[in-house]
């Protein structure tokens, strides 16, 4: 059949025509530029509209400094706790078979599907001064709502899925045999975890921690409900930004917003670097 020669294409079957490719790339970059890059640029431009000095002065204000400290403290508590919980949950799900496993998987995903505001309200109902538990805690001098513990709990809730969700697929793919091998070689459970399990999940774990950290620093809804938004005390960076903006203090608001974005960007850059290292490690692991 001599006609078949006419059907040979100059490129692979899965490749689009050059025009279609150019259009798709332009659409992707255009959308990103319009909805992501442009707003980000505006934030930095607004922050610096009265000069760098004014921006830095607004960040040095007591209110801003308290917000920065509170946000870093909250992330500093919530992220390590969630890393530990995430490892435990992923471990339980991937290494054991037990009753209620499906329920646990659903519960891990719950914070993704429940609105953060609702989560915050639940915490208020549970720990607020009007509840039995909350009343008792206030009487003990350990208030949860309108205080740091509430903010940390709300942040824990919204960031819970990140680490577990990153780890579960990796751990399922790796299976249990390397751990079993370590056990038959005489290693105890803890040694097996530290020398075999943890090194195998380290990239996924770091990736999950970075995502959780980004979300912990940026969380607004749940924290807004439980914090009471007390200036200089329980107002985190996102909440302080909103309050400053509502008071038309745009340089102060945008300076803080720029700082929060910068923190997120650092996280993003770290994530990209990790992905590069991770893809190399994955490629090496898959060369079988």
């Amino acid at each position: 059949m001599s006609d078949t020669a006419l059907n040979i294409r100059p490129h692979a079957a899965t490749t689009e025509a050059p025009l279609a490719r150019a259009l798709l790339i332009a659409l992707a970059i255009g959308t990103l530029g319009l909805f992501v890059l442009a707003p980000l640029a505006v934030v930095f431009a607004e922050a610096l509209s009265k000069g760098l000095g004014a921006a830095l002065r607004s960040l040095a204000a007591p209110e801003a400094r308290s917000a920065i400290r509170l946000t870093l403290l909250t992330a500093g508590i919530a992220v390590p706790l969630n890393a530990a919980f995430g490892i435990a949950a992923a471990w339980a799900i991937t290494k054991f078979d037990f009753r209620g496993k499906a329920l646990l998987i659903t519960l891990i995903d719950l914070p993704f599907s429940v609105s953060p505001v609702v989560a915050g309200l639940c915490l208020v109902l549970l720990f607020g001064a009007n509840s039995t538990l909350g009343g008792w805690l206030v009487a003990q001098g350990m208030p949860v709502i309108f205080a740091l513990p509430g903010i940390v709990l709300a942040t824990l809730f919204v960031t819970f899925p990140f680490v577990a969700r990153e780890l579960i697929p990796v751990m399922i793919e790796q299976g249990r045999t390397e751990e079993e091998a370590a056990l038959t070689l005489g290693a105890g459970g803890w040694r097996t975890f530290l020398s075999v399990t943890l090194p195998n999940i380290r990239w996924a774990l770091l990736y999950g921690v970075l995502l959780a950290n980004a979300r912990a620093m940026g969380e607004f809804g749940a924290v807004a409900v439980v914090s009471g938004k007390i200036r200089g005390q329980t107002a985190t960076m996102p909440i302080t930004i909103e309050m400053l903006y509502n008071e038309y203090l745009s340089v102060a608001a945008f300076s803080l917003a720029a700082l929060l974005s910068a923190l997120a960007l650092v996280t993003l850059i770290l994530k990209t670097l990790l992905e590069r290292a991770h893809s190399g490690a994955l490629a090496a692991g898959h060369r079988s």
Binding site: E178, A181, A284
Partner: protein
């Protein structure tokens, strides 16, 4: 070491993996557990290794009841089907793992560990690969490293789960001879699982044919070939 399997049964939930099976494995024997998938052969091997525990029955090593002995204390050299090498460690570290995992009192000094690993690499005829990672090895090399890692703990027995399953025919034949040589050199009681009758017949002193969680026949290869005890064994061997 002499192994006695006494009325071992195993159920997973509602499925029965092993009906009560009884088997005596003489010291120093090379034994094949032969059967189709789902015959319970891997479950029996994992029970010997301490990775699963029987629902009922006893396991005896040299007449000592070891049914409840923890996996770490069994000193069973276990070679997994997919080898389960630690992918983030070099070949050297893989082989040294069992020695380094020992409690301080019985852990050999560093130089002694290095000496033993070097010796094992020579035993498996791969003296040059200590610094490589598992992903840089061929399938046959990985299998031999897994064998060396299992031998490093000075095991009381060697247990292998489909040791040649993932290899091509030529490498398979070479490694069969390699396993036979290592068995003869160490004198370890060795049990391996396979679904390949040629492998079982060629390599083993004693073949245990299993089906549906039961032992159909135990015997020397030629006896099983010439006098199959059940219709299943006859059909399985002629397949």
């Amino acid at each position: 070491m002499h192994i006695d399997i006494d009325e071992i049964a195993k159920t997973f939930g509602t499925t029965t993996a092993l009906h009560p099976v009884t088997l005596a494995i003489p010291s120093g024997a090379l034994v094949a557990l032969l059967g189709p998938s789902g015959s319970g052969k891997t479950t029996l091997l994992r029970i010997l290794g301490g990775l699963e525990f029987p629902t009922s029955g006893r396991v005896l090593f040299d007449a000592e009841d070891t049914t409840g002995l923890r996996v770490q204390e069994r000193r069973a050299g276990f070679v997994f089907q997919s080898y389960a090498l630690f992918r983030h460690m070099t070949v050297f570290d893989n082989i040294a793992y069992g020695l380094r995992a020992r409690p301080r009192a019985t852990r050999p000094p560093k130089a002694e560990i290095a000496r033993r690993v070097t010796h094992l690499l020579e035993l498996i005829q791969l003296p040059e690969i200590g610094a490589r990672f598992p992903s840089q090895l061929s399938g046959g090399q990985r299998q031999r490293v897994a064998l060396a890692r299992a031998l490093a703990i000075e095991p009381r027995m060697l247990l292998l789960d489909e040791p040649f399953g993932a290899l091509d025919a030529k490498v398979r034949r070479e490694l069969r001879q390699g396993l036979r040589d290592i068995h003869d050199e160490t004198g370890l009681t060795t049990v391996f699982v396979t679904h390949d009758q040629d492998e079982a017949m060629e390599l083993a002193d004693l073949v245990v044919v299993m089906s549906m969680g039961r032992i159909e026949q135990v015997g020397r290869p030629q006896d099983i070939r010439t006098r199959p005890a059940t219709a299943f064994v006859r059909d399985f061997l002629s397949a």
